[in-house]
């Protein structure tokens, strides 16, 4: 890279460019089984490597900010669109970028989910539908525990991260066994991190 600290780009996007941005997200939508974040590598390939619409720094910051903010993680897609728009000429373009990327990533998957859920509801007495729900239950429940594990070891499985693991374990225990409000726990985690204790 010639300019590693380059924070923004100056782009001229044509209608075809916006359309190809939209179509890229439409095509990723149906591939995003397990959440939109699973398709982030392909977004990086398209936006940063192929089209040069975003810098690496913008891409990484978009994901980090969306993870830190409240709400569904899919909002990192909105931030990517926002940054593409900013690079193409300012806040109005940014809003355009948000609309295009979010409509692209959400419309196919939500339409399919809505239709599937309606069908499943109408046919809930069907043996196959009941078998699907009963069969998938233990797997998706275990998947949640596995996700907790994956997230807490995301910083590497180095033993020096033991305070983080302890915090995750204690949190899990407290949420499981008590009725403490989740925001207290998040606040405590933020304070412990702020003072460098975890």
């Amino acid at each position: 890279m010639t300019e590693p600290l380059q924070l923004a780009l100056n782009l001229q996007l044509t209608v075809q460019d916006w359309l190809s941005l939209f179509l890229h997200y439409v095509s990723l939508s149906l591939l995003a089984i397990g959440g939109a974040i699973t398709t982030a590598p392909d977004m990086h390939r398209f936006l940063v490597d192929q089209q040069h619409w975003l810098t690496d720094a913008q891409f990484n910051a978009s994901i980090a900010i969306a993870q830190a903010a409240p709400g569904p993680n899919v909002l990192f897609v909105a931030l990517l669109g926002w940054n593409v728009g900013l690079n193409a000429g300012g806040m109005l373009m940014g809003l355009m970028g948000i609309s295009i990327t979010m409509l692209g990533i959400l419309t196919p998957s939500t339409t399919l989910t809505y239709l599937a859920a309606q069908w499943g509801h109408r046919n809930r007495e069907l043996r196959a539908v009941r078998a699907f729900k009963q069969g998938m239950a233990p797997i998706v429940v275990a998947l949640l525990i596995a996700t907790g594990w994956v997230l807490t070891t995301a910083n590497g499985s180095d033993m020096k991260n033991w305070p983080l693991w302890l915090l995750t374990g204690l949190t899990a225990l407290m949420v499981w066994r008590t009725k403490i409000h989740l925001l207290w726990l998040l606040g405590a985690g933020a304070l412990l991190g702020w003072f460098g204790l975890v």
């Binding site: 149906l30 995003a32 089984i33 397990g34 959440g35 939109a36 910051a61 980090a64 900010i65 993870q67 903010a69 409240p70 709400g71 569904p72 899919v74 909002l75 909105a78 926002w82 940054n83 979010m102 990533i105 196919p108 998957s109 939500t110 809505y114 043996r127 009941r130 078998a131 699907f132 009963q134 069969g135 998938m136 239950a137 233990p138 797997i139 429940v141 275990a142 998947l143 525990i145 596995a146 907790g148 594990w149 994956v150 997230l151 807490t152 910083n155 995750t168 949190t171 899990a172 949420v175 499981w176 989740l182 726990l185 998040l186 405590a188 985690g189 933020a190 991190g193 702020w194 204790l197």
Partner: protein, 191 residues
Amino acid sequence: MTEPLVSPLQRPTSLTDLFVSFTLLALQGFGGVLAVVQRELVEKKRWMTREEFVEEWAVAQIMPGPNVVNLSLMIGARYFGFKGAMAALAGMLVAPLIIVLLLALMYAQFADQPGVQGALRGMAAVAAGLIAATGLKLFGALQKNVLRLKLCIALGALCFIAIALLRWPLTYVLLGLGCVACSVAYKKLPP
């Protein structure tokens, strides 16, 4: 399990109730909204039982797209059809989108503060615990499962090993284990 039974199920009173409820859920969900959805909708508001929640989550998880977005769509549709789906979806996305934009505008000024980085790390560790705890709680919902508890635990353990320890791709694990589990369930269910 610990859950007190009997208290009757409730439901959202209106589209506004749905929208506001999901907005509040989304705004509490740092690092993932699922734990909050389970806590609020199942334990506090009692819109659905633990078993129903697992069923909806199974569908939301297997469909493409963001899982929690799928889940809110399905829960909204359950009570108010298409309008409900849109109200819940809007609740889940609009306010958080505004906040995430504000954060993005402020980010440049605070990103390099070590305290901020540390706080994010601490919150991420807590968020991981919230998700794991949601799984532990929903485990109780498997007691009535047609697969019986022993087989549920075996399937769950395999899933945990494949995803958490071996880091296999989610799609293959869901398809592979899912096919086995659903076929066994199909055989055990009365026609």
